[in-house]
Each structure stands twice: as C-alpha cells, then as structure tokens.
Amino acid sequence: MQVHKYDVVIVGAGGAGMRAAIESGQRARTAVLTKLYPTRSHTGAAQGGMCAALANVEDDNWEWHTFDTVKGGDYLVDQDAAEVMAKEAIEAVLDLEKMGLPFNRTPEGRIDQRRFGGHTRDHGKAPVRRSCYAADRTGHMILQTLYQNCVKHNVEFYNEYYVLDMLMVDEEVTVDGETRIQKRVAGVVSYDLASGELHIFQAKSVVFASGGVGKVYKTTSNAHTLTGDGMGIAFRRGIPLEDMEFFQFHPTGLAGLGILLSEAARGEGAILRNSEGERFMERYAPTIKDLAPRDIVARSMANEVREGRGAGPNKDYVLLDLTHLEPAHIDAKLPDITEFARTYLGVEPYTEPVPVFPTAHYAMGGIPTNIKAEVLLDNDTVVPGLYAAGEVACVSVHGSNRLGTNSLLDINVFGKRAGLAAAEYALTADFVEIPENPTVETEELLNRARSSEGTERVAQIRKELQDIMDANVQVFRTEETLLEALRVIDTLEERYTRITVQDKGKRFNLDLLEAVELGFLLDMAKVMTAAALHRKESRGGHFREDYPTRDDENFMTHSMAYKDPTATETSGVRLETKPVIFTRYQPMERKY
C-alpha cells in the first residue's frame, strides 16, 4: 500500500475544494483528491449566479445582504458567519473576475447583476439586483475558472481517488495544568478507482469539500455521485453533524425528472401558475411573490398540488410561465435551462408553460465549522488541522433555508478561508503519526461488500430508501411520517448487510463504489430523519404539519447529531443543541 505525504490534503474538487487549493497550493504542498475529475463536480450545474453587493446596477450594500441571508434562513443563521460572507462576497466576485470568469456585463462594461429570490433592497422593501452571473451557467463558469487557475498554479490532483476514511488519533494535551484528550487528524484513506488499491495520504491539514447528499431523495437536482461521503466519514469518526433536518427543495425542477431550472428564470420575470392559470404566489407572498425564498415557494407549490390545483394528466405539478418574455431575452439570459425543457420534456418555453415541481437540492446542514472553517468536535472544541467548506459544511450561513446564489458564494468565501487556514496551520504544525493498521476498517468495509453472497441488490435498497425519503421526509413532515421513515431505514440497513456486489474485479469497480456510497446514504438519511423528528417546530425548509409554527422559545438552536449506538429509539443518532450566534438582528416574524 502506498503512503503519500502532503502538508495539506483537500477532499473534493468542486468549487470549495478548488478555491481552497488555489490558496493552499501556493503556500504549502497540497494534494486534491476527488472521486471524479475536477470538472465533473456538481458546482458546474449551478446556474443563476452569485450574490454580492457590488451595487453595479442599483443601490446596495453588504449589510442588506446580511439581513436577507439571516431572514432567509429564518433566523437560524449564525450572524457572524453571514456578515463575513456578505462582506467578503464583493472580493470573492472580483477575485473570480480577475481569474478570468466571463461575467455578463452592463452597457458600461461592468459586471451585470440581476434579481434573485429573497434578495432585497433595504431589509425587504423590494427585490434588488444583486446576483452576478454568466448567462444561466454561472456554476459552470466558476468551476471552469477555478480549474483553469488550478492548472495555472500546478495544483496536484489525484483524480478518481475515492476517500473512504479519515484517520484520527487521540492526543494528550495539557492546558493550564489540566490534561485532557484532544482529537487530531492524521490523514485520509482513499481508494484508487482505476487500480482498486488503497492509498494513505498523511497530511498536517485535511480540508473536506466533498459536497452534498441529494441522492437520499428520488427527485433531485443532484448528481448521482452526491452521496454524502464526507459527512458520512466525519459522522462515523465521531464528529457531529449540524442542522441536518434542513434540506432545501428547489421549487423549479423539471416535473418528474428533478432537473434544475434556475431561479434566474423568475429573476428574469417568469412566474408560476397553477392548473387554473392563476399566479398563486400572489396569495402566499404578496410583496415579492414569485421571488420569495425557496422554502416558501416550494411549500406553496406543494400546497397547490395537494389542494387539487396541480396541472397535467395526474395534477401533480405546476407551471413555470415564460411566455410573456421576449424570446430574444430568454435566449440571452436563460439559454441552457430553456434547452433542458426542450430536450427532456419536449416543451417549447417561448410559447408553452413548463411543468415544474420541487426537487431535492441542497443540504443546509453538515459538518460544523466556525468562521475560520475549522471543524468542531462539539459546540466549541476545534479539531486542530481539520477544515470543511461548501455544502459538506455547516458554518452556518444558510440557517434553515439557503437563499439562491448564496451557495456559490459560500464555496468561494469559505473555500478560500479553508485553504488559507489549512496552509497556515500546516506551516507551523507537525505531522501526526499514522495510527497502527490504518486501513483495517476500510478493508473490512470493502471486503464485506465484495465477498458478500447475499441476495440483496444495492440499486433496489437505494430505490426504496429514496422512495421513503421522498414520501415521508420531503416538504411536509409529521411525527408519524418521520417515525415510519426511520423504521424503514432500519430495515434497509439490515438488508444492506446482505448485499451482493456482482463485479468482483479491482479495475474501475464502480459496482463496489455504489455499494459503499449506499452505506453513506443510509447513514445520512437516518441522521436527517432523526434530526427532523427532534425539531418539533416549523422553520425554513423544515415544515412539521403537527407543529406548524416557529417556536423560538424551545428551538432557536442548531441541532447537533452524534453517532451513539445507545440512542436506540432514534436509530443510533443522539441529538443535542448548539446556540445560534446573534450579532445585529433579533428574530422577527418572517413575511415576504
């Protein structure tokens, strides 16, 4: 088995990972490990834009952006983190422009900006043009630009190296005469897909930037590869996961397919209609209507369908209407998503409304970090040398509901911070010794899957998992649906021990890869459901029909889910809480 030694190892090569690598690679010996190729990462699927209060087209400032982010997240946002993000947004956009990102331009040649859901002028008075964009492929441009700059700076990539475990050791430290045990990271274990060999990467700093977990759901905008690996590895190694009950459903997925149609469509003037042709968002959000935040729009759409005003033969979707927009305007600003409608549904957006329904999109929760991107072992203990950024992390700038464009911003701001901090730490710290038998758990995991002779199929278990998550842990939830989901997940987990991987080879064994991914998906589904059960209130993306209002007295706290086999009633997940950080804004009723 090969052992590699680097100052910094970054797990994941999407926006956050590559943004970190650009900083870290210029300061310390850095390797980036990805189970894909960097340019395949799902950052590339993001469409609408990246908000920053540049004020290029109208009055704006970062404080308004902070407020919108906090209110958008239904006050569960850590306000210190939101301030950092909104303030550094401006530099983050300018950094990208200097790296070569081809933003759309104003007639004066400056970066153009457009409207986006929940982003407003002066604390909610009206929608504001804050989103910097490159047509409707801003994520693609960010991913390409960051990769280009990694090439420029000779960043070392290990492509198709799937990280399966993190090596952690307990160290005795004495602080103020008191001796205690401190956890430190020593490196990661990865599986080279091409050869089937395990490789150990010893590192002083490890940055997790491995993305989200959308594949726990059936209808999702997420790539097949977004299986919560990074969150799963951290959870199994004793790191809690924060706010996992909050999962964002993007309002406008292509009906039945889940493929994303950017909110930029509504930013450019498209509106939603029900089967009666009614612009129903006027009822749910009278001030900003179709540009309300995603949780509100998604819930409104689901409600229209529930009350029988869904369109189509099965009355199970609503319609995104662009027909009042000029075709030339659509072509200039929304070329890709209108092509998706044509390619996949055969609908012509110039003349016909497009069938849409909410699609599982984004995990607000993840590995807890502070604003330096340092990973937390509990409410305040940092794991030295361990960092996380992007969707895998929870810093928390999104609270209970992320505003559109704030994820492209998050990866740039906190990716950069993570890269800088990881390099800085590595320059002063020593390597932690690799523990004995570092790959024993990973080998067990792989051998179990490879040698098992059971009759269960990975794809079948995954399908049943996605079905129950779509049915019971989606936009609307109750204690009953959540308990039922946990029960089903438990039985799926038992069946998972009896799976068979048909491919017995070593070379590009993607059958084995899917089996391992399913293990992470099952773990994460359990955590998400247990956390949703624990939160007996409705806030942001988490709506409990049995507790339909926000309850600040009991639940103005982050949830922290720990792996704990003794918590048998909630499938081995123990829930604790962590205070929300307030700086400027006191909670108010959230109306739009």
């Binding site: 081809p102 331009r105 492929r137 280009q148 790539a223 998706f340 996949y344 080879g505 993607l510």
Partner: protein
Amino acid sequence: MSTETTEKEPASKVELAPGVGGGGEIPTFDITLKVRRYNPESSDDAYWDEWKLTMYGTDRVLDALHKVKWEHDGSVSFRRSCAHGVCGSDAMRINGRNRLACKTLLKDLDTSKPILVEPIKGLPVEKDLIVDMEPFFQSYREIMPFLVSKGHEPTKERLQSSEERERYDDTTKCILCAACTSSCPVFWTDGQYFGPAAIVNAHRFIFDSRDDAGDMRLEILNDKEGVWRCRTTFNCSEACPRGIQVTKAISEVKQAILTRKI
C-alpha cells in the same frame, strides 16, 4: 445604467389551453441495447453484450445503461455524474455518433434496431465504456487554459463590453467531455494532434479582450501538431453536446495565426 429586464407585469390569471405543458405522454417501449465490453483483468478481447429492456418515454441512453447495471449486470462500467448534460462524464459512441448518454433520448433513436454503445475513440480503453482521459487533459493543459494578464491588477473588475464578451461566448460553453476530440479522424490516427477541445479552449482565451497571452497560444497552436492538422471535416461540431461551433472556432484561430490579428 442597468441592462433591461423585461418589466411587463404578467397577468394574475390567464386561460390555459387544454393539455398545456403536458408534452404528450409517451408510452413505454422495448429496446435492444448492445454494449461494447472490455476488461483486461479477465480477457484481452473486447466483445458485445446485449440486453432487451422495457423503457419509459423520457428515458435516455443513460437510463438504459443504469437499468442494465442495476438490474442485470453490475459489472458493466461507465462514468456518469450530473445526468443532464453539464458535467461531461458520459460521452460515448451511440450508434456510431459521439453523444452524451444523459442527453440522448431513446425515443429519438431508431428503436426498431439494436442501440449500439461503444467507448469514444482515440483514447485508450480502460474498461467497457471508460477511457483514459489523461492524454485529452494533457493537450488541454498545454494551450495555457487560463487568463494571463500583464500590468497592474485593477482594484475593481476589469471592464469588458458586451460585444467583447460576446466574441468568445460560444467557446466558454465547453464541458471537456471529449466528444469533439474523439470524433476527429485526425486525432484517431495522429496521437500527437492537440484536438478540437484544446483549440476551443485556446480560442476562449485568445479572443478574450482581457487576456495578454494570445500570441503565445497562437505560437503553440502554429506547431506541427496544432491547428493545421485540422481537415475541416466538421465531425467535431456535430459531436458537441453543447452546440459549440467547433470548426468555426478552429478556423478563427487559423485566421488569427495567419494575420496575427485577434
């Protein structure tokens, strides 16, 4: 000072045409899928495998491959990720033409005959539909695919007019899927040729008004394995799943080398 957004306020309620947005329900249908198999772990020979499958109206070739992998033979190997044509993982030869499996609807193919799926050509096959992408990315890296700008960094953004931005818009769409490069007959026979994708990415910077390394890139592409190998067969433009006018971009680069005018 801002660009125009269409401000016409849409009606609160409209009459919808009957069946609007339905797109017409497409019934299930049967296909025969033939996949070119190869695994050097078990044999040096490639062979065809075949499955009969029942598929749904909106299914794509990728769905058929998944159905095989998930329900019939887990060892069938192919790359995929986003599944809607933006990540560039699943370029393959489908009925002899390079396409993305996730963007090719089965109903648009002739389903009365077997659907043939093979790895893209000109790159070493690793296993089934998986090829070694390294030579492809090597060519990409050689054309300096990043903005090079001399002089002082501005404190704010560099200015660029919409017309200047439009000049290279088409080539920014590239997702590096290799459908174009691996459709090029010159690339198949000449292992050294940069190939269309590398030239497309060079074009993206050569015609960017903010870039100062156009001459260097033109010099690189004026090499014997550079643009002059292109025989203008248009395979690349037909293969591009992003609709980039690849051959046009290559001609513009050729023209720029001749006139040194960007």
